[in-house]
Protein backbone atom coordinates (compact mmCIF):
# COMPACT_ATOMS: atom_id res chain seq x y z
CA UNK A 1 0.00 0.00 0.00
CA UNK A 2 1.36 3.37 -0.95
CA UNK A 3 0.80 5.79 1.89
CA UNK A 4 2.97 8.68 0.86
CA UNK A 5 5.15 9.45 -2.09
CA UNK A 6 7.54 12.28 -2.46
CA UNK A 7 6.75 14.47 -5.43
CA UNK A 8 9.34 14.35 -8.20
CA UNK A 9 9.12 18.10 -8.51
CA UNK A 10 10.79 18.56 -5.13
CA UNK A 11 14.43 17.68 -4.48
CA UNK A 12 15.65 15.72 -1.45
CA UNK A 13 17.08 18.89 0.03
CA UNK A 14 15.57 19.46 3.49
CA UNK A 15 13.51 22.65 3.54
CA UNK A 16 15.14 25.45 5.50
CA UNK A 17 11.92 27.15 6.58
CA UNK A 18 11.16 27.77 10.27
CA UNK A 19 9.08 25.23 12.18
CA UNK A 20 5.39 25.91 11.69
CA UNK A 21 5.85 28.07 8.60
CA UNK A 22 3.48 27.10 5.82
CA UNK A 23 5.97 27.66 2.97
CA UNK A 24 6.60 23.91 3.05
CA UNK A 25 2.93 23.15 2.38
CA UNK A 26 2.84 25.66 -0.44
CA UNK A 27 6.01 24.21 -2.01
CA UNK A 28 4.42 20.81 -1.87
CA UNK A 29 1.18 22.02 -3.49
CA UNK A 30 3.08 23.72 -6.31
CA UNK A 31 5.22 20.63 -6.87
CA UNK A 32 2.17 18.34 -6.89
CA UNK A 33 0.37 20.53 -9.41
CA UNK A 34 3.41 20.50 -11.70
CA UNK A 35 3.76 16.74 -11.43
CA UNK A 36 0.07 16.09 -11.97
CA UNK A 37 0.13 18.20 -15.10
CA UNK A 38 3.24 16.31 -16.26
CA UNK A 39 5.16 19.46 -17.08
CA UNK A 40 8.11 19.28 -14.71
CA UNK A 41 10.64 18.80 -17.50
CA UNK A 42 9.55 21.91 -19.27
CA UNK A 43 9.03 24.10 -16.25
CA UNK A 44 11.24 27.02 -15.30
CA UNK A 45 10.76 28.34 -11.79
CA UNK A 46 11.84 31.79 -10.67
CA UNK A 47 12.90 32.17 -7.05
CA UNK A 48 12.52 35.53 -5.29
CA UNK A 49 14.51 37.36 -2.69
CA UNK A 50 12.98 36.60 0.69
CA UNK A 51 12.43 33.42 2.67
CA UNK A 52 11.99 31.46 -0.57
CA UNK A 53 15.31 32.67 -1.94
CA UNK A 54 16.61 29.10 -1.87
CA UNK A 55 13.61 27.75 -3.78
CA UNK A 56 16.02 26.78 -6.56
CA UNK A 57 17.41 24.18 -4.18
CA UNK A 58 13.97 22.74 -3.42
CA UNK A 59 12.14 22.66 -6.74
CA UNK A 60 13.54 19.87 -8.89
CA UNK A 61 13.48 21.63 -12.25
CA UNK A 62 15.21 24.40 -14.13
CA UNK A 63 15.32 27.36 -11.77
CA UNK A 64 16.46 30.95 -11.85
CA UNK A 65 17.03 33.16 -8.87
CA UNK A 66 15.87 36.73 -9.45
CA UNK A 67 16.73 40.07 -7.91
CA UNK A 68 14.33 41.38 -5.26
CA UNK A 69 10.92 41.92 -6.82
CA UNK A 70 12.09 41.25 -10.36
CA UNK A 71 10.89 37.67 -10.72
CA UNK A 72 8.02 38.61 -13.10
CA UNK A 73 10.49 40.42 -15.41
CA UNK A 74 12.88 37.45 -15.33
CA UNK A 75 9.94 35.14 -15.97
CA UNK A 76 8.94 37.31 -18.91
CA UNK A 77 12.39 36.96 -20.45
CA UNK A 78 12.35 33.19 -19.97
CA UNK A 79 8.80 32.73 -21.25
CA UNK A 80 9.45 34.81 -24.37
CA UNK A 81 12.46 32.66 -25.22
CA UNK A 82 10.67 29.39 -24.44
CA UNK A 83 6.97 30.06 -25.06
CA UNK A 84 6.14 26.37 -24.77
CA UNK A 85 7.67 26.05 -21.37
CA UNK A 86 5.78 26.52 -18.11
CA UNK A 87 7.16 29.44 -16.13
CA UNK A 88 6.25 30.30 -12.58
CA UNK A 89 7.40 32.81 -10.02
CA UNK A 90 7.29 32.14 -6.30
CA UNK A 91 7.29 35.43 -4.41
CA UNK A 92 6.65 36.78 -0.96
CA UNK A 93 4.76 39.93 -0.01
CA UNK A 94 7.78 42.21 0.32
CA UNK A 95 9.09 40.97 -3.00
CA UNK A 96 5.83 41.14 -4.94
CA UNK A 97 3.74 43.83 -3.27
CA UNK A 98 6.49 46.26 -2.33
CA UNK A 99 9.76 46.42 -4.26
CA UNK A 100 8.37 44.42 -7.16
CA UNK A 101 4.98 46.11 -7.45
CA UNK A 102 5.76 47.51 -10.89
CA UNK A 103 7.02 44.22 -12.26
CA UNK A 104 3.98 42.20 -11.16
CA UNK A 105 1.53 44.88 -12.34
CA UNK A 106 2.99 45.02 -15.80
CA UNK A 107 3.47 41.29 -16.17
CA UNK A 108 -0.24 40.95 -15.37
CA UNK A 109 -1.16 43.87 -17.62
CA UNK A 110 0.68 42.27 -20.53
CA UNK A 111 -1.19 39.06 -19.89
CA UNK A 112 2.18 37.38 -19.54
CA UNK A 113 1.61 33.63 -19.74
CA UNK A 114 3.17 32.91 -16.40
CA UNK A 115 1.93 31.62 -13.06
CA UNK A 116 2.71 33.51 -9.89
CA UNK A 117 2.53 31.98 -6.46
CA UNK A 118 2.25 34.91 -4.08
CA UNK A 119 2.93 33.94 -0.48
CA UNK A 120 1.43 36.58 1.79
CA UNK A 121 2.39 36.31 5.44
CA UNK A 122 1.99 40.01 6.20
CA UNK A 123 5.64 40.49 7.16
CA UNK A 124 9.25 40.43 5.92
CA UNK A 125 10.42 37.05 7.18
CA UNK A 126 14.00 36.56 6.08
CA UNK A 127 15.23 39.98 7.13
CA UNK A 128 13.82 39.59 10.62
CA UNK A 129 10.17 40.60 10.77
CA UNK A 130 9.89 44.10 9.36
CA UNK A 131 6.64 45.71 8.22
CA UNK A 132 5.40 44.66 4.79
CA UNK A 133 2.89 46.42 2.53
CA UNK A 134 0.53 43.62 3.56
CA UNK A 135 1.09 44.04 7.31
CA UNK A 136 -2.28 44.56 9.01
CA UNK A 137 -3.14 47.82 10.74
CA UNK A 138 -2.04 47.55 14.34
CA UNK A 139 0.23 44.60 13.66
CA UNK A 140 3.52 44.82 15.52
CA UNK A 141 6.70 44.27 13.54
CA UNK A 142 10.32 45.30 14.07
CA UNK A 143 9.74 48.46 12.03
CA UNK A 144 6.23 49.10 13.37
CA UNK A 145 6.94 48.51 17.06
CA UNK A 146 3.77 50.38 18.08
CA UNK A 147 1.68 48.53 15.57
CA UNK A 148 1.15 49.54 11.94
CA UNK A 149 -0.07 53.11 12.02
CA UNK A 150 -2.61 53.82 9.34
CA UNK A 151 -1.93 57.57 9.54
CA UNK A 152 1.77 57.01 8.97
CA UNK A 153 1.77 54.32 6.30
CA UNK A 154 -1.75 53.68 5.11
CA UNK A 155 -3.60 50.43 4.91
CA UNK A 156 -2.32 47.11 3.62
CA UNK A 157 -2.51 46.40 -0.11
CA UNK A 158 -4.89 43.77 -1.43
CA UNK A 159 -2.83 42.63 -4.41
CA UNK A 160 -5.28 40.04 -5.72
CA UNK A 161 -8.17 42.49 -5.94
CA UNK A 162 -5.88 45.06 -7.55
CA UNK A 163 -4.42 42.73 -10.16
CA UNK A 164 -7.85 41.29 -10.94
CA UNK A 165 -8.73 44.68 -12.43
CA UNK A 166 -6.21 44.23 -15.21
CA UNK A 167 -7.50 42.84 -18.50
CA UNK A 168 -4.36 40.72 -18.91
CA UNK A 169 -5.03 38.79 -15.71
CA UNK A 170 -6.88 35.57 -16.58
CA UNK A 171 -7.01 33.88 -13.21
CA UNK A 172 -6.53 35.43 -9.78
CA UNK A 173 -7.44 33.69 -6.54
CA UNK A 174 -6.70 34.07 -2.85
CA UNK A 175 -6.46 30.92 -0.78
CA UNK A 176 -5.22 29.88 2.63
CA UNK A 177 -3.44 26.84 4.01
CA UNK A 178 -4.39 27.13 7.67
CA UNK A 179 -6.43 23.92 7.73
CA UNK A 180 -6.94 20.79 5.65
CA UNK A 181 -10.06 21.98 3.88
CA UNK A 182 -8.33 25.17 2.82
CA UNK A 183 -5.19 23.32 1.79
CA UNK A 184 -7.28 21.22 -0.59
CA UNK A 185 -8.87 24.36 -2.01
CA UNK A 186 -5.46 25.97 -2.36
CA UNK A 187 -4.25 22.94 -4.27
CA UNK A 188 -7.13 23.29 -6.73
CA UNK A 189 -6.43 26.97 -7.24
CA UNK A 190 -2.70 26.44 -7.82
CA UNK A 191 -3.40 23.72 -10.33
CA UNK A 192 -5.91 26.00 -12.05
CA UNK A 193 -3.29 28.76 -12.23
CA UNK A 194 -0.90 26.43 -14.06
CA UNK A 195 -3.68 25.19 -16.34
CA UNK A 196 -4.50 28.81 -17.20
CA UNK A 197 -0.93 29.35 -18.33
CA UNK A 198 -0.76 26.10 -20.28
CA UNK A 199 -4.02 27.02 -22.05
CA UNK A 200 -2.39 30.32 -23.00
CA UNK A 201 -5.17 32.34 -21.42
CA UNK A 202 -3.02 34.96 -19.73
CA UNK A 203 -1.51 35.86 -16.41
CA UNK A 204 -2.45 33.72 -13.43
CA UNK A 205 -1.78 34.28 -9.76
CA UNK A 206 -2.66 32.53 -6.56
CA UNK A 207 -2.20 34.52 -3.38
CA UNK A 208 -1.65 32.12 -0.51
CA UNK A 209 -2.13 33.44 3.02
CA UNK A 210 0.76 32.01 4.97
CA UNK A 211 2.13 32.05 8.48
CA UNK A 212 5.28 33.38 10.09
CA UNK A 213 5.27 32.04 13.67
CA UNK A 214 8.84 33.20 14.24
CA UNK A 215 8.31 36.83 13.38
CA UNK A 216 4.70 37.00 14.49
CA UNK A 217 5.87 35.79 17.91
CA UNK A 218 3.28 33.01 18.02
CA UNK A 219 3.23 29.28 18.21
CA UNK A 220 2.46 27.47 14.95
CA UNK A 221 -1.06 26.71 16.19
CA UNK A 222 -1.66 30.32 17.23
CA UNK A 223 -0.41 31.41 13.83
CA UNK A 224 -2.87 29.23 11.98
CA UNK A 225 -5.64 30.64 14.12
CA UNK A 226 -4.46 34.21 13.49
CA UNK A 227 -4.69 33.66 9.74
CA UNK A 228 -8.32 32.75 10.22
CA UNK A 229 -9.21 35.37 12.83
CA UNK A 230 -7.24 38.37 11.56
CA UNK A 231 -5.94 37.90 8.03
CA UNK A 232 -8.91 36.38 6.24
CA UNK A 233 -11.32 39.14 7.32
CA UNK A 234 -9.04 41.71 5.62
CA UNK A 235 -7.93 39.42 2.81
CA UNK A 236 -11.13 37.61 1.78
CA UNK A 237 -10.57 34.24 0.15
CA UNK A 238 -11.94 33.27 -3.22
CA UNK A 239 -11.50 33.51 -6.94
CA UNK A 240 -11.13 37.16 -7.91
CA UNK A 241 -10.90 36.67 -11.63
CA UNK A 242 -11.55 33.77 -14.00
CA UNK A 243 -13.38 30.51 -13.50
Amino acid sequence: MRVFEKTKALTDMPLTYCPGCTHGIIHRLVAEAIDELGVREKTIGIAPVGCAVFAYDFFNMDMMQAAHGRAPAVATGAKRVHPDSVVFTYQGDGDLASIGAAEIMHAAARGERITTIFVNNAIYGMTGGQMAPTTLVGQVTTTSPYGRDEELCGKPIRMSEMLAQLPGAAYIARVSVHDVRHVLEAKKAIRKAFETQIAGEGFAMVEVLSTCPTNWGMTPIESLKWVESDMIPYYPLGVKKGA
Binding site: I44, N60, M63, R70, V74
Partner: protein, 370 residues
Protein backbone atom coordinates in the same frame (compact mmCIF):
# COMPACT_ATOMS: atom_id res chain seq x y z
CA UNK B 1 26.75 45.05 -51.33
CA UNK B 2 26.59 48.81 -51.67
CA UNK B 3 27.27 50.79 -48.56
CA UNK B 4 24.26 52.20 -46.75
CA UNK B 5 24.05 55.54 -45.02
CA UNK B 6 22.94 54.62 -41.52
CA UNK B 7 22.45 56.30 -38.19
CA UNK B 8 24.71 54.88 -35.48
CA UNK B 9 21.79 53.74 -33.35
CA UNK B 10 20.12 51.93 -36.23
CA UNK B 11 23.39 50.42 -37.39
CA UNK B 12 24.00 49.02 -33.90
CA UNK B 13 20.50 47.53 -33.88
CA UNK B 14 20.86 45.96 -37.32
CA UNK B 15 24.30 44.63 -36.42
CA UNK B 16 22.75 42.95 -33.39
CA UNK B 17 20.11 41.33 -35.58
CA UNK B 18 22.81 40.03 -37.89
CA UNK B 19 24.74 38.71 -34.91
CA UNK B 20 21.75 36.53 -34.09
CA UNK B 21 20.16 38.69 -31.42
CA UNK B 22 16.48 37.76 -31.31
CA UNK B 23 15.37 39.32 -28.04
CA UNK B 24 15.42 42.98 -27.14
CA UNK B 25 14.05 44.53 -23.98
CA UNK B 26 14.31 48.27 -23.53
CA UNK B 27 12.83 51.52 -22.36
CA UNK B 28 12.75 54.90 -24.13
CA UNK B 29 15.46 57.43 -23.36
CA UNK B 30 17.21 59.98 -25.57
CA UNK B 31 19.64 59.78 -27.37
CA UNK B 32 19.30 56.04 -27.97
CA UNK B 33 15.62 55.81 -28.95
CA UNK B 34 16.33 54.65 -32.49
CA UNK B 35 17.68 51.37 -31.13
CA UNK B 36 14.41 50.18 -29.51
CA UNK B 37 12.40 51.75 -32.32
CA UNK B 38 14.39 49.89 -34.93
CA UNK B 39 14.18 46.66 -32.94
CA UNK B 40 10.42 46.97 -32.56
CA UNK B 41 10.15 46.96 -36.34
CA UNK B 42 12.87 44.42 -37.04
CA UNK B 43 12.40 41.74 -34.38
CA UNK B 44 9.01 40.52 -35.64
CA UNK B 45 10.49 40.29 -39.16
CA UNK B 46 13.16 37.84 -38.01
CA UNK B 47 11.02 35.81 -35.65
CA UNK B 48 12.36 37.56 -32.59
CA UNK B 49 10.74 39.43 -29.73
CA UNK B 50 10.86 43.11 -28.94
CA UNK B 51 9.29 44.13 -25.68
CA UNK B 52 9.13 47.64 -24.28
CA UNK B 53 9.54 47.08 -20.57
CA UNK B 54 7.77 49.08 -17.88
CA UNK B 55 11.11 50.31 -16.59
CA UNK B 56 14.84 50.07 -17.13
CA UNK B 57 14.90 47.82 -14.09
CA UNK B 58 12.43 45.43 -15.68
CA UNK B 59 14.18 45.58 -19.03
CA UNK B 60 17.50 44.38 -17.62
CA UNK B 61 15.75 41.65 -15.62
CA UNK B 62 13.96 40.48 -18.76
CA UNK B 63 17.42 40.32 -20.29
CA UNK B 64 18.48 38.18 -17.29
CA UNK B 65 15.57 35.82 -17.92
CA UNK B 66 16.18 35.57 -21.66
CA UNK B 67 19.95 35.20 -21.28
CA UNK B 68 19.39 32.55 -18.62
CA UNK B 69 17.18 30.79 -21.14
CA UNK B 70 20.00 30.66 -23.67
CA UNK B 71 19.09 33.49 -26.04
CA UNK B 72 21.22 36.15 -27.68
CA UNK B 73 19.67 39.21 -26.07
CA UNK B 74 20.35 42.91 -25.91
CA UNK B 75 19.17 46.03 -24.16
CA UNK B 76 20.16 49.63 -24.68
CA UNK B 77 19.86 52.87 -22.78
CA UNK B 78 21.64 56.06 -21.84
CA UNK B 79 23.25 57.15 -18.54
CA UNK B 80 20.20 57.56 -16.29
CA UNK B 81 18.74 54.30 -17.56
CA UNK B 82 22.05 52.48 -17.28
CA UNK B 83 22.23 53.58 -13.63
CA UNK B 84 18.84 51.93 -13.05
CA UNK B 85 20.03 48.77 -14.74
CA UNK B 86 23.06 48.37 -12.48
CA UNK B 87 21.28 46.04 -10.05
CA UNK B 88 20.35 43.69 -12.86
CA UNK B 89 23.79 43.91 -14.43
CA UNK B 90 25.39 42.84 -11.16
CA UNK B 91 23.06 39.82 -11.00
CA UNK B 92 23.81 38.97 -14.63
CA UNK B 93 27.51 39.06 -13.83
CA UNK B 94 27.00 36.95 -10.70
CA UNK B 95 24.95 34.38 -12.59
CA UNK B 96 27.46 34.48 -15.49
CA UNK B 97 24.96 35.23 -18.21
CA UNK B 98 25.89 36.56 -21.65
CA UNK B 99 24.18 39.66 -22.99
CA UNK B 100 24.94 42.94 -24.70
CA UNK B 101 24.18 46.31 -23.12
CA UNK B 102 24.45 49.46 -25.21
CA UNK B 103 25.00 52.78 -23.46
CA UNK B 104 24.65 55.82 -25.70
CA UNK B 105 26.07 58.28 -23.21
CA UNK B 106 24.63 61.72 -22.46
CA UNK B 107 25.69 64.48 -20.11
CA UNK B 108 25.21 63.94 -16.38
CA UNK B 109 24.95 63.76 -13.43
CA UNK B 110 21.27 63.38 -12.69
CA UNK B 111 18.96 64.00 -15.60
CA UNK B 112 21.84 66.03 -17.05
CA UNK B 113 21.33 66.70 -20.74
CA UNK B 114 20.72 64.70 -23.85
CA UNK B 115 23.89 65.88 -25.57
CA UNK B 116 26.91 63.61 -26.00
CA UNK B 117 29.25 62.88 -23.11
CA UNK B 118 31.73 60.27 -21.94
CA UNK B 119 31.11 60.64 -18.24
CA UNK B 120 29.95 57.03 -17.73
CA UNK B 121 33.51 55.72 -18.21
CA UNK B 122 34.03 54.88 -14.55
CA UNK B 123 30.59 53.29 -14.30
CA UNK B 124 31.26 51.10 -17.34
CA UNK B 125 34.87 50.14 -16.70
CA UNK B 126 34.75 49.61 -12.94
CA UNK B 127 31.82 47.25 -12.92
CA UNK B 128 29.07 49.73 -12.16
CA UNK B 129 26.95 47.81 -9.71
CA UNK B 130 27.69 46.11 -6.41
CA UNK B 131 30.35 43.45 -6.12
CA UNK B 132 33.79 42.76 -7.57
CA UNK B 133 33.55 42.55 -11.29
CA UNK B 134 34.54 43.95 -14.64
CA UNK B 135 32.65 44.09 -17.88
CA UNK B 136 34.29 44.18 -21.29
CA UNK B 137 33.59 47.63 -22.73
CA UNK B 138 33.79 48.27 -26.46
CA UNK B 139 33.92 51.89 -27.61
CA UNK B 140 33.36 52.52 -31.32
CA UNK B 141 34.54 55.76 -32.88
CA UNK B 142 32.58 55.48 -36.11
CA UNK B 143 29.33 53.97 -37.29
CA UNK B 144 31.06 51.17 -39.25
CA UNK B 145 33.10 50.35 -36.17
CA UNK B 146 29.92 50.33 -34.07
CA UNK B 147 28.61 47.59 -36.37
CA UNK B 148 31.80 45.58 -36.06
CA UNK B 149 31.99 45.93 -32.29
CA UNK B 150 28.32 45.15 -31.68
CA UNK B 151 28.76 41.81 -33.43
CA UNK B 152 31.98 41.20 -31.52
CA UNK B 153 30.19 42.04 -28.27
CA UNK B 154 27.82 39.09 -28.70
CA UNK B 155 30.71 36.73 -29.37
CA UNK B 156 32.68 37.89 -26.34
CA UNK B 157 29.54 37.66 -24.21
CA UNK B 158 28.92 34.05 -25.21
CA UNK B 159 32.55 32.99 -25.05
CA UNK B 160 33.09 34.19 -21.50
CA UNK B 161 29.49 34.17 -20.22
CA UNK B 162 29.60 37.84 -19.37
CA UNK B 163 27.64 40.96 -20.18
CA UNK B 164 29.46 43.19 -22.66
CA UNK B 165 28.92 46.93 -22.91
CA UNK B 166 28.99 48.83 -26.18
CA UNK B 167 29.78 52.34 -25.04
CA UNK B 168 28.92 55.10 -27.48
CA UNK B 169 27.76 58.64 -27.03
CA UNK B 170 24.99 60.79 -28.43
CA UNK B 171 27.16 61.65 -31.40
CA UNK B 172 27.77 58.09 -32.49
CA UNK B 173 24.11 57.27 -31.89
CA UNK B 174 22.76 60.16 -33.93
CA UNK B 175 25.30 60.54 -36.72
CA UNK B 176 25.05 58.84 -40.09
CA UNK B 177 27.95 57.26 -41.92
CA UNK B 178 28.25 54.75 -44.73
CA UNK B 179 28.29 51.18 -43.46
CA UNK B 180 28.94 47.86 -45.07
CA UNK B 181 26.67 45.53 -43.14
CA UNK B 182 27.88 41.96 -42.97
CA UNK B 183 25.51 39.20 -43.99
CA UNK B 184 23.40 37.58 -41.33
CA UNK B 185 25.50 35.22 -39.28
CA UNK B 186 25.18 31.70 -40.60
CA UNK B 187 27.60 29.96 -38.30
CA UNK B 188 26.25 27.91 -35.45
CA UNK B 189 25.92 29.98 -32.28
CA UNK B 190 27.66 28.49 -29.25
CA UNK B 191 25.75 25.78 -27.42
CA UNK B 192 24.52 26.77 -23.96
CA UNK B 193 24.02 23.54 -22.06
CA UNK B 194 23.82 25.50 -18.82
CA UNK B 195 20.73 27.46 -19.88
CA UNK B 196 17.22 26.92 -18.56
CA UNK B 197 14.31 25.45 -20.46
CA UNK B 198 15.93 24.81 -23.75
CA UNK B 199 16.63 21.13 -23.57
CA UNK B 200 13.24 19.52 -23.70
CA UNK B 201 12.66 16.31 -21.79
CA UNK B 202 15.42 15.19 -19.51
CA UNK B 203 16.08 11.82 -17.89
CA UNK B 204 13.67 11.34 -15.09
CA UNK B 205 14.59 8.08 -13.39
CA UNK B 206 14.80 8.34 -9.63
CA UNK B 207 16.50 11.67 -9.45
CA UNK B 208 19.09 10.68 -12.04
CA UNK B 209 18.73 14.13 -13.54
CA UNK B 210 19.52 15.79 -10.25
CA UNK B 211 22.42 18.12 -10.85
CA UNK B 212 21.63 18.29 -14.54
CA UNK B 213 18.87 20.80 -14.17
CA UNK B 214 19.79 24.38 -14.90
CA UNK B 215 20.19 26.70 -11.94
CA UNK B 216 20.72 30.33 -12.86
CA UNK B 217 21.82 31.96 -9.66
CA UNK B 218 24.08 34.56 -8.09
CA UNK B 219 23.52 33.59 -4.46
CA UNK B 220 26.35 31.77 -2.67
CA UNK B 221 25.54 32.08 1.00
CA UNK B 222 28.69 30.26 2.21
CA UNK B 223 31.58 32.79 2.19
CA UNK B 224 34.12 30.21 1.08
CA UNK B 225 31.92 29.14 -1.80
CA UNK B 226 31.36 32.76 -2.76
CA UNK B 227 35.08 33.46 -2.59
CA UNK B 228 35.67 30.51 -4.90
CA UNK B 229 33.07 31.94 -7.25
CA UNK B 230 34.84 35.31 -7.15
CA UNK B 231 38.20 33.67 -7.84
CA UNK B 232 36.63 32.00 -10.84
CA UNK B 233 35.25 35.34 -12.07
CA UNK B 234 38.62 37.02 -11.62
CA UNK B 235 40.27 34.23 -13.59
CA UNK B 236 37.81 34.90 -16.36
CA UNK B 237 38.69 38.59 -16.29
CA UNK B 238 42.39 37.75 -16.55
CA UNK B 239 41.65 35.69 -19.64
CA UNK B 240 39.55 38.47 -21.18
CA UNK B 241 42.32 40.98 -20.48
CA UNK B 242 44.86 38.73 -22.16
CA UNK B 243 42.70 37.78 -25.12
CA UNK B 244 40.38 40.65 -25.97
CA UNK B 245 42.41 43.87 -25.85
CA UNK B 246 41.74 46.20 -28.77
CA UNK B 247 43.27 49.58 -29.48
CA UNK B 248 44.21 51.82 -32.35
CA UNK B 249 47.57 53.49 -32.76
CA UNK B 250 48.06 56.40 -35.13
CA UNK B 251 51.37 58.07 -35.83
CA UNK B 252 52.73 57.07 -32.43
CA UNK B 253 56.11 55.73 -33.62
CA UNK B 254 57.81 59.10 -33.97
CA UNK B 255 55.40 61.07 -31.76
CA UNK B 256 56.63 63.57 -29.27
CA UNK B 257 53.13 64.09 -27.91
CA UNK B 258 50.77 61.12 -27.58
CA UNK B 259 47.09 61.82 -27.17
CA UNK B 260 44.83 59.20 -25.67
CA UNK B 261 41.18 59.43 -26.68
CA UNK B 262 38.34 57.03 -27.38
CA UNK B 263 35.03 56.99 -29.21
CA UNK B 264 33.94 60.08 -31.09
CA UNK B 265 36.50 62.23 -29.29
CA UNK B 266 39.19 60.19 -31.04
CA UNK B 267 37.76 61.47 -34.33
CA UNK B 268 38.17 65.05 -33.17
CA UNK B 269 41.68 64.28 -31.95
CA UNK B 270 42.51 62.68 -35.30
CA UNK B 271 41.61 65.92 -37.06
CA UNK B 272 43.65 67.92 -34.56
CA UNK B 273 46.66 65.65 -35.03
CA UNK B 274 46.53 66.15 -38.80
CA UNK B 275 46.59 69.90 -38.29
CA UNK B 276 49.36 69.63 -35.72
CA UNK B 277 51.47 67.49 -38.05
CA UNK B 278 50.93 70.09 -40.77
CA UNK B 279 52.48 72.57 -38.37
CA UNK B 280 55.42 70.28 -37.78
CA UNK B 281 54.31 69.07 -34.34
CA UNK B 282 54.90 65.37 -33.93
CA UNK B 283 51.62 64.27 -32.40
CA UNK B 284 50.15 60.77 -32.40
CA UNK B 285 47.20 59.00 -30.84
CA UNK B 286 46.51 55.83 -28.92
CA UNK B 287 42.83 55.03 -29.14
CA UNK B 288 41.52 52.45 -26.67
CA UNK B 289 38.82 50.43 -28.45
CA UNK B 290 38.29 48.18 -25.45
CA UNK B 291 38.10 50.51 -22.45
CA UNK B 292 38.22 47.46 -20.26
CA UNK B 293 40.55 45.75 -20.80
CA UNK B 294 42.53 48.98 -21.08
CA UNK B 295 45.61 49.20 -23.35
CA UNK B 296 48.08 49.74 -20.53
CA UNK B 297 51.04 48.05 -22.20
CA UNK B 298 50.75 49.99 -25.48
CA UNK B 299 50.69 53.24 -23.50
CA UNK B 300 53.67 52.15 -21.42
CA UNK B 301 55.49 51.22 -24.63
CA UNK B 302 54.74 54.60 -26.18
CA UNK B 303 56.12 56.26 -23.06
CA UNK B 304 59.54 54.87 -23.98
CA UNK B 305 59.75 57.27 -26.90
CA UNK B 306 57.08 59.96 -26.47
CA UNK B 307 57.82 62.93 -24.25
CA UNK B 308 54.38 63.81 -22.98
CA UNK B 309 50.82 62.43 -22.87
CA UNK B 310 47.50 64.22 -23.22
CA UNK B 311 44.16 62.57 -22.53
CA UNK B 312 41.09 64.14 -24.11
CA UNK B 313 37.61 63.16 -22.95
CA UNK B 314 34.07 64.45 -22.79
CA UNK B 315 34.25 64.17 -19.01
CA UNK B 316 35.96 65.87 -16.11
CA UNK B 317 38.73 63.31 -16.34
CA UNK B 318 37.96 59.61 -15.95
CA UNK B 319 39.98 57.60 -18.48
CA UNK B 320 42.96 59.79 -17.64
CA UNK B 321 43.23 57.79 -14.39
CA UNK B 322 43.87 54.66 -16.41
CA UNK B 323 46.41 56.51 -18.54
CA UNK B 324 48.25 57.61 -15.39
CA UNK B 325 48.24 54.05 -14.08
CA UNK B 326 49.65 52.85 -17.39
CA UNK B 327 52.33 55.56 -17.40
CA UNK B 328 53.14 54.90 -13.77
CA UNK B 329 54.97 58.19 -13.55
CA UNK B 330 57.17 57.56 -16.56
CA UNK B 331 55.97 60.65 -18.42
CA UNK B 332 53.88 63.73 -17.64
CA UNK B 333 50.16 63.20 -18.10
CA UNK B 334 47.91 66.10 -19.08
CA UNK B 335 44.19 66.26 -19.46
CA UNK B 336 41.75 68.26 -21.53
CA UNK B 337 38.03 67.68 -21.23
CA UNK B 338 34.63 69.18 -21.81
CA UNK B 339 31.57 68.15 -19.83
CA UNK B 340 27.81 68.41 -19.72
CA UNK B 341 27.26 67.70 -23.39
CA UNK B 342 29.84 70.18 -24.67
CA UNK B 343 32.02 68.65 -27.34
CA UNK B 344 35.67 69.62 -27.65
CA UNK B 345 36.34 71.41 -30.91
CA UNK B 346 39.23 70.39 -33.14
CA UNK B 347 40.68 73.87 -32.65
CA UNK B 348 40.61 73.50 -28.85
CA UNK B 349 42.43 70.19 -28.99
CA UNK B 350 44.94 71.65 -31.41
CA UNK B 351 45.55 74.50 -28.96
CA UNK B 352 46.30 71.97 -26.23
CA UNK B 353 48.72 70.14 -28.50
CA UNK B 354 50.45 73.37 -29.46
CA UNK B 355 50.73 74.31 -25.84
CA UNK B 356 52.38 71.01 -24.98
CA UNK B 357 54.66 71.47 -27.98
CA UNK B 358 55.81 74.68 -26.36
CA UNK B 359 53.87 77.24 -28.37
CA UNK B 360 50.89 79.31 -27.30
CA UNK B 361 48.96 79.22 -24.06
CA UNK B 362 45.46 77.96 -23.50
CA UNK B 363 44.10 76.92 -20.14
CA UNK B 364 42.71 73.43 -19.75
CA UNK B 365 39.69 73.04 -17.48
CA UNK B 366 41.65 70.52 -15.48
CA UNK B 367 45.27 69.76 -15.77
CA UNK B 368 47.26 67.26 -13.83
CA UNK B 369 50.98 66.90 -13.98
CA UNK B 370 52.09 63.55 -12.67
Amino acid sequence: MAKMLMKGNEAIAEAAVRAGCRYFFGYPITPQNQIPEYMSKRMPQVGGTFLQAESEVSAINMVYGAAGSGARVMTSSSGPGISLKQEGISYIVGAELPCVIVNIMRGGPGLGSIQPAQSDYYQATRGGGHGDYRIPVLAPSSVPEAVELTIKAFDIADEYRTPVIVLGDGMIGQMMEPVDLPDELTRQLPAKPWAAGGRGAKPDADGADEGRRAIINSLYIDPQVLENHNIKLQGKYSRIAAEQLLFGSEMVEDADIVIVAYGTVARIVRSAIRLARAEGIKAGMIRPITLWPFPEAPIADAAKTARVFLTVEMSAGQMVDDVRLALNGARPSHFYGRTGGMVPAVRDVLDQIRRLAGAGQSPAIKEVLV
